[in-house]
Symmetry: D2
Subunit: 260 residues, 4 copies
């Protein structure tokens, strides 16, 4: 029986590419995403055509019980050895006045509470199994708060600390928790494409993207695979990823009055 | 007319001492705390007896509209020049299994959402006034997640990032937002005393406390005063505070196999 | 007898303003700088005319024995209660190829080795006295390495870690070590003025400087004073300083493709 | 012709294991270490017996010209595609008084200056080639300064910032610079074994080591391999590594008065 890799947030970007990578590597992947049944069906079919094993269904992770059910269903297929937590919470740039209480709360429900619930649901069986892996997609907003990112940064900052508390409790029980700081624009129609619009997205792909200047989600997936298979004597708990041509978040971009 | 300093979370620790310090420095302080009318009355009386000016009422900050009303009421007394956000979210050490969804959510409501709401309520008038100051009490859990701190760290990590997004938007409008990392045990009956119990607390005071080994909230208040009155050409956005005898959170305590 | 405040790097910027602040507050200040006897004389005279007490001499801190002698001489005047370590190591923006081994080494000698030597010279008497304070001026380059800052960042990164090891050993002995991240351009003819040239500097002062958009070293000095007089129950070990209108180093400046 | 991987600091720990991993993966590895000709010969022989290609010689990296010559010699064999910079600078735990100027300087020469020189020597050809990879072994002391680590932390803190300035200049030219924080004890006779003595080392191996509680350098080498082969659209610039059973440096170890 194949080990199971459960992916919460399996769209056409990082989640989908990780799904293909892990299915190709011998896992049965269980996929969930909030909407787009067609997209989900295509992804499952693509994996199966390449000889992989995949199932999945639509699921709104912020609704009560939904994540818990996903974990239960996946566990019926096989031991969940890897859980990819890939829910985003980006709503674009908004001033404080433009950010509603509802948006602020929804960000937290997706970025933070859903991870907490996924951990509560999946950890007991991983502990019993003596091993397991939680890979948590995160963003630059988890390590610094930019203008217009009130909801996103508050949500992701909580996510990062939660990864650390999970690791502190479950690392010594054999569960590897890794927080992955995606520090750049991902070549993903489902997220970046929707955020900036199809026209801007197409233009971005044609310019920087054509020079590997966007994060290729298939390449991100290689690092997810590596993290999930690090030997337990040498685990990584935080990994940053960005394109070669993009300076890290901590650097000033070249400006006349750049700080030194 | 005195400038107003609104304190959300004015108990017998940091909040109360900051209240006394700012009242002594010429502010009218508006106090709120969730419970203990007697404690609140004593604090107001003490301030008035020392020639200061204070008002206040009980208020449960996580209820809808409450923070907004506090800000409105305070603004009727005078321009809010300083807002001290001092709500804690510590629930003690609990494993993941012992942490309820309700506790996890309450932590976020106090640490994160309440700050967001306070900012939405108070910033417009500060912007109009061209100046203002938000001092946000925070904790070590905002910068690293220890075992058993799932709810607290997730909440405080969000709070820290929110302070950064607020600063990014409002700093250039003249509003100073400072995040204060209280990195040690505070000599405060209302918080530490309740957390570890009166007996342990008394013992702690008699031992390390007698050697200034607990954070004295009156001394913390001096740094709050300093931050609130830094000239706008030289603002601090993050300040850490701990007792002299305590190593910072980033240090290993002396152990045979300590990392080097 | 007045307590002594020894300032290593007392030019016309932070060092000189801190000197005036501490002399005004009752210290005898001992000043040293590498060059410009006239500038030093003017500073001493200015302090004395305001009723303060100051002595000093030129000294090249990177030469063998020089810092040690400065500490010895200052200690003969009185107990050194505060040591302000204010040597900079900025050489402007240079590519790797443009940075000589000599420059790279000199940066380290000023930023790192000189601090190590100052600590070796001054700590024993502070420990004997049961108290003391080391305030170390530092820069953004201590927390992140920008393009063209090879020598400066390597030097300042070492300085920051050295402040932490000094604090770990000497904090529990009553010596307060604080690392101050000056995260912006300082209105100082001796450093910024020389770095960008008198014409650019004059222009900068007339534009952003006139709106408090440059760090005013007299205001920085207020925070140095505060740090040096924090009660030992509530010490700060790292403080950042920047002008209100300038975003912190961790923020993207507004750009079309800013990271979120 | 095989691509060349130059390893500076190829002892019996991380350096040697990385050498075997990269030789096994198709590189010609060029090895250097300061002493132990026999150890070096054994390593080369072992690699050759497994079908790999390796050469090398003893070299004292802190002497003038030595690193530059190593780079020149390696480049004569083939294009240096990967440079592993693996010089340590640990001298054990020493108080400030016990740390000599000479030790402090030597730490910097190994950790910081040698990396600067290696970069000056190797970057031009990598830039010409349009690609290349610098993997820099580092330690917890690069991100926080513990008691007794004055020389080590100052040196490693500088190394970390230098990695960032190198990346800022050379990333956009196709050179991948990664800083690797080895946050735990490595199962390595040449470094840890010498530091704590053979008896303690043997005991450590028998206890925690037998449970994968020491960092296995062969497993570390897998992550070096991964980093060196990340696609340029998704590079990592800082990676931490530690054993599963060890809490990260940022966590308190369980203690009665642990910070929360």
């Amino acid at each position: 029986m194949k080990p199971v890799c459960l992916i919460i947030g399996a769209g056409a970007g990082i989640g989908g590419c990780v799904a293909k990578r892990f299915a190709g590597g011998g896992y049965h992947v269980v996929l969930s995403r909030r909407s787009d049944q067609n997209g989900l069906d295509r992804l499952i079919k693509e994996i199966q055509q390449q000889g992989g094993s995949a199932t999945g269904r639509l699921a709104n992770a912020v609704e009560a019980g939904v994540i818990e059910n996903l974990v239960t269903e996946a566990a019926e297929i096989g031991q969940i050895e890897v859980l990819i937590f890939n829910l985003g919470a980006q709503i674009g740039t908004r001033t404080l006045a433009q950010t509603s209480l509802k948006q602020f709360e929804l960000g937290w429900r997706m970025a933070c509470l859903a991870l907490f619930r996924a951990a509560q649901a999946a950890m007991p069986s991983m502990v019993k199994n003596g091993k397991g892996c939680f890979l948590v997609t995160s963003s630059t907003a988890a390590v610094r708060g930019n203008e217009g990112q009130h909801a996103h940064a508050a949500a992701m900052g909580g996510r990062r600390m939660l990864c650390q508390t999970l690791n502190a409790e479950f690392g010594p029980k054999g569960i590897h928790v890794a927080h992955i700081v995606v520090d750049g624009a991902v070549d993903a129609p489902d997220t970046l494409g929707k955020l900036i619009g199809p026209k801007n997205f197409a233009q971005l792909r044609d310019t920087v993207g054509s020079r590997d200047g966007l994060l290729d989600p298939n390449q991100i997936a290689e690092s997810y695979w590596h993290l999930a298979h690090q030997h337990r004597s040498a685990w990584t708990h935080e990994m940053d990823l960005r394109p070669w041509s993009e300076l890290p978040w901590w650097n000033d971009k070249p400006l006349p009055t750049a700080k030194i």
